[in-house]
């Protein structure tokens, strides 16, 4: 459980970081909190030529509100966002979902952007970003581009980030309305088997997001109204996403978890909005 040899760079500015990424491309890996990357290095599942440590870049360690969106820099840890005083008011979904991200100790190191960059299909933060229709800010030597969450996360552990790009921040829109989040995991802090988030935004029913059923989070709008219509919508979603088999759950069990959790989460979001 020792990594292969690698070089280590610790740039002080985004420009320097981007220059190193431009030089090494896919041979480089960005090190933020390292909660996933270091394990993968030690398992020899990845073998980067160079690690680019962005933890000492001051401009990345910032949480700020811009145009009714909360921008979280790439060096901001999960616990720092969780402890950000306006969080519950501005991003109540994050306040509900973040405690399920790993454990207190891992959240002290793990970053918000790192979790989104890793793009685990069961992960809470990519699900939250997708449900809130947030954005990912990418910088390279050629400039900055901003991708919608759905454009960014393309599949299981795959994203639209190019090898020479650095995620500098993610942006969560501040959306009024009720939110709710629940997940089923084998133990507290484990990857979710299925996670469901809902946003009752008052616009024709509510938005519902599901992780753990497919290779990336799915977000749908489910019309309000009769409970039988809601039931049918969840049923359709269960069959559409299908679920998959692993050691912890069968595809059938994942569908059943969605059937059981989704109505509860939707009801909670509705009550939260009221």
């Amino acid at each position: 459980m020792k990594p292969r040899p690698f070089d280590y760079a610790r740039p002080d500015t985004v420009e320097e970081a981007v220059a190193i990424l431009a030089e090494h491309g896919d041979e480089a890996r960005v090190l933020a909190g390292g909660q996933t990357l270091l394990a993968m290095l030690n398992l020899r599942l990845v073998e980067p030529a160079v690690l680019v440590d962005i933890n000492r870049i001051p401009e990345l360690d910032v949480i700020r509100e811009v145009d009714n969106r909360i921008e979280v820099g790439a060096a901001v840890t999960q616990n720092r966002l969780l402890a950000w005083p306006p969080l519950a008011q501005k991003l109540p979904l994050l306040a509900a979902a973040l405690p399920f991200v790993g454990h207190f100790q891992t959240r002290n190191k793990g970053t918000v952007c790192g979790s989104i960059a890793h793009a685990d299909p069961t992960s809470e933060l990519p699900l939250s970003l997708a449900l809130l229709e947030g954005e990912v800010v990418l910088r390279s030597r050629h400039g900055t581009r901003v991708l919608a969450a759905t454009e960014f996360q393309q599949g299981m552990l795959t994203t639209a980030r190019a090898g020479d790009e650095l995620i500098t921040a993610v942006r969560f829109p501040v959306v009024p309305g009720g939110v709710a989040f629940r997940e089923v995991a084998r133990r507290h802090g484990d990857f979710a088997i299925v996670a469901v988030a809902a946003l009752a935004d008052g616009v024709n029913g509510m938005r519902i997001g599901v992780a753990g059923m497919a290779e990336r989070p799915a977000v749908r709008r489910i019309a309000g109204g009769e409970s039988s219509a809601t039931h049918d919508a969840i049923e359709r979603l269960a069959w559409e996403l299908q679920g998959y088999d692993d050691v912890h759950a069968s595809a059938r069990m994942r569908r059943d978890l969605l059937r059981r959790i989704a109505p509860v989460v939707m009801e909670e979001a509705r009550r939260c909005a009221a």
């Binding site: 084998r186 133990r187 990857f191 049923e235 069990m253 059943d256 059937r259 959790i261």
Partner: protein, 813 residues
């Protein structure tokens, strides 16, 4: 000073451990020039090794050697095993690999990093062979064979009969049968294996530091493998341990491997097992399939019992296996008064990592079958489960009780324990909670389990594996020696060494209590040193920390050694106090006349006399104050000619009761209430006893609900990280109410029994019974994961809506 035994004396060990000052194997200094080893392991469940090419690896800077099975075969002998069977195992695979993770080669380099880098350059060619994972399939003679010379994978079959089962079954009101699978699991310590080995060519000897736990019957196995007499394998055990739970017996093949590497390279070798290696290949408890059947009377009384136990030891049988299959043998009827028993014990090998001891070994496998069967008896006879348990419990009047298969249960009052646990409104409350949950449409069940917990194994129990004729030829094996030395220095300071290895149980504290009480001192005055050195410390083949041997064994030896020391000090003081020795007592740090306490001397003064003034000693008394006591209870007799065996010295009792509910959203089994009643005889330190019991409870919950080693059909290992092998954390562990009853053992001078494994044995069966009650099902597979619970209760799936049907995969339709 008041008696400290029985008091919750704080652990001497904790200040160092809690402030990060533990001295663990990996922290200890190593000799200059120490090299680091990395084990290359088989990716195949079964394959022929075609060739190993180390050329490229050896060309790397800092790489000293790549050691293969051929070198190991040339320099060492196969490990001895308990069975006469041609299943040779060395510390590296020879010719074939037989499980994923089997050590194939050892890379030695100047750092672990270099060793792992070079390991990727060693070319190993395999020719894959068909593997067999399922123990039943492994018994099929037409399937893959692991060890050609053994002719079969089923390497031992023994049949035992006690009483008259046939007659009992014929006369019975009913027969109740059940098939039960106990899964493969482990209890993973925080600290993995560590070995530092040196070879001294000058006298052809090995000096090894390793976190080995015993039993030290394995020391001769290692020495024989290394082809040296015992004293030439010096083994040192560090002062602290990051957990053991039985697993750290199985470091022994790596001790031999590192020792050979030290010999080959001429340098000291350090090897630290990492977590991946540990999960993949360290050790596991054996999985067992039990076919169990009872002949029962109309009132639920069990008249006779038949068990067919097929235990899967993986690819090799390692010493002292098949321990789990025989450790409970004398007590196979558990807590019940059953006169007629037939047992078939079968040992099978499959392409999995070798199984060995883990905490509770043999107990959980037996009790899952037995306690599930008792519940089935109640259901099939339409009786109350608790009532059936009570009707079958051994009555108090029958103690000491000789169980059908030979165990001598020393003491107990099982019915009183059950009444106390279920009383106090506890069972009534459980029933109320069950009824309320069921009325609301939820799944809620109540489970019970009654188990007998053995303490200190008879070293002869494993020979029950042999036929009486073979045993006679080999010579009898029995007993279990315990050794402790008490030393008093010229200033009156007391120190103690003992034949146990530290694993965190608080043995230093309890030994200091025992010795302090005999010498009239405070436990703080007694210095206990338990790091072990086989070249200098007292030990026997029974030494080590396992099978709950501390309380019935080492604790007694400490008591006896301290008593002798007290007698000697009394005789010395009597002369100086001018009284008879019978009139002398040790109390409050002084030695004084019982009849005239003012006539006294400080403890230290009397101690000094012995060292400085032998002339003042009573006539004929040897100077110096050092007493070593050996305790070897006579009740641990060899197996009789009709295969009856008293497998252990003490037999405690545990009765568990729980309520579980299936979480309606997650399918997780949620333990709502758990009550565990223990009778471990006299408790030497109730705080430490509770800690041990809670630890066993946690691991019982782990086995019942979370932890399982899973292999696919081809033998690939699916639970190689902590993301798949789920160890419950504090967030997952339910509250437990621990109750105690003390029925002292008449067979140990302190009246205390072994107590640290009981809940590992009782919890899986109690939870399984509760789940069976909640769901109304007969077959409960452990661990009872949400996936398994879902499969039990999901029923037919709702038909997909028309517009989604097109997307449904074939398999789900």
């Amino acid at each position: 000073m008041a008696q400290s035994l029985g008091a919750p004396v704080l652990r001497k060990e904790d200040p160092a451990l809690l402030s990060g000052r533990g001295r663990y194997a990996d922290d200890l200094p190593v000799p200059a020039g120490t090299l680091h080893a990395h084990v290359l392991r088989s990716p195949h469940a079964h394959a022929r090794i075609v060739g190993i090419n180390p050329t490229e690896a050896l060309a790397q800077d800092g790489v000293w050697a790549v050691i293969t099975g051929e070198e190991v075969r040339r320099l060492s002998d196969p490990f001895l095993i308990a069975l006469k069977a041609p299943i040779d195992q060395w510390s590296l695979a020879v010719e074939r690999v037989r499980y994923v993770g089997e050590p194939v080669a050892l890379v030695v380099a100047e750092s672990r990093y270099l060793a792992e880098d070079a390991g990727e350059l060693v070319r190993i060619d395999y020719e894959p062979l068909p593997a067999v994972i399922d123990p039943r399939a492994a018994c099929d003679p037409s399937g893959p064979l692991l060890h050609a010379q053994a002719k079969s994978n089923e390497i031992s079959v023994r049949r035992f009969s006690y009483g008259d089962c046939n007659r009992a079954f014929e006369a019975a009101h009913a027969r109740v049968a059940l098939s039960c699978d106990y899964p493969r699991n482990s209890f993973t310590p925080m600290e993995c294996y560590v070995v530092v080995a040196e070879y001294r060519a000058s006298d052809d000897s090995y000096d090894v530091m390793a976190n080995f736990q015993g039993p030290f019957s394995t020391h001769p196995v290692m020495a024989r493998a290394l082809r040296v007499p015992g004293p030439k394998l010096r083994l040192r055990i560090p002062p602290d341990s990051g957990g053991s739970f039985g697993i750290k017996l199985s470091v022994f093949p790596y001790i031999v491997l590192a020792a050979l590497a030290a010999r080959i390279t001429g340098q000291p070798i350090k090897w630290v097992e990492d977590r991946l290696e540990h999960l993949l290949a360290a050790s596991s408890g054996p999985n067992r399939i039990t076919e169990i059947e009872a002949a029962v009377a109309k009132d639920g009384r069990i008249l006779a019992l038949r068990l067919d136990q097929l235990e899967d030891y993986g690819a090799f049988l390692r010493a002292p296996m098949p321990g789990p299959l025989y450790r409970m043998h004398g007590a196979i009827t558990g807590a019940y008064d059953i006169a007629n028993v037939e047992v078939v014990n079968r040992v099978v090998l499959t392409n999995k990592m070798p199984a060995s001891l883990i905490r509770g070994f043999g107990g959980p496998q037996l009790y899952l079958a037995l306690e599930r069967l008792v519940q089935r008896i109640a259901i099939e006879l339409k009786l109350d489960h608790l009532e059936v348990i009570k009707r079958n419990l051994i009555p108090k009047e029958k103690f000491p009780y000789r169980a059908a298969a030979g165990a001598l249960y020393d003491s107990g009052d099982y019915l009183r324990a059950v009444e106390a646990a279920t009383g106090g409104g506890r069972l009534d409350e459980l029933k109320r909670r069950r009824d309320a949950a069921r009325a609301a449409g939820r799944h809620y069940g109540i489970g019970f389990a009654a188990v007998v917990e053995p303490g200190m194994s008879n070293m002869g129990y494993l020979s029950t594996l042999l036929t009486p004729q073979a045993r006679e030829k080999a010579g009898p094996k029995n007993g279990a020696a315990s050794m402790v030395t008490v030393n008093v220095d010229p200033l009156g300071a007391v120190s103690v060494t003992a034949d146990v290895t530290v694993q965190g149980q608080g043995h230093q504290t309890v030994l200091s209590q025992i010795v302090a009480d005999r010498l009239g001192l405070d436990p703080a005055d007694v210095n206990v040193v338990l790091e072990m050195d086989t070249a200098k410390d007292q030990w026997s083949i029974a030494a080590g920390t396992y099978s709950c041997r501390f309380t019935p064994g080492t604790a007694v030896a400490a008591h006896l050694a301290a008593e002798r020391m007290a007698d000697k000090l009394k005789a010395i003081a009597a002369k100086q106090l001018n009284v008879l020795p019978e009139d002398v007592e040790l109390a409050g740090g002084r030695i004084r006349s019982r009849s005239n306490p003012d006539n006294s001397l400080p403890f230290a003064r009397v101690a000094g006399t012995s060292h400085w003034s032998p002339a003042m000693l009573p006539e004929g008394m040897a100077p110096a104050l050092r007493e070593t006591a050996v305790w070897s209870p006579p009740e641990l007799e060899p197996p009789s000619s009709d295969d009856r065996i008293n497998t252990s010295l003490t037999y405690g009792f545990v009765f568990d009761m729980c309520g579980v509910e299936i979480d309606p959203l997650s399918y997780q089994v949620r333990v709502d209430r758990y009550v565990s009643m223990h009778d471990a005889g006299r408790l030497l330190n109730p705080m430490i006893a509770n800690g041990q019991m809670r630890g066993a409870f946690v691991q019982g919950i782990a086995a019942a609900l979370y932890e399982e080693f899973v292999y696919d059909e081809a033998g690939q290992f699916l639970t190689g990280t902590f993301a798949d092998y789920l160890v419950p954390t504090v967030a997952e562990i339910p509250a437990v109410e621990m109750l105690h009853q003390e029925t002292p053992s008449p067979l140990t001078p302190l009246g205390a029994k072994g107590l640290a494994e009981g809940n590992c044995m009782s919890v899986p069966s109690c939870i399984a019974n509760a789940i069976a009650d909640a769901l109304g099902v007969r077959d409960i597979a452990l661990p009872a994961t949400p996936r398994r619970i879902h499969a039990l209760i999901a029923g037919a799936e709702e038909i997909p809506p028309v517009d989604a049907a097109a997307r449904v995969p074939e398999a789900a339709r």
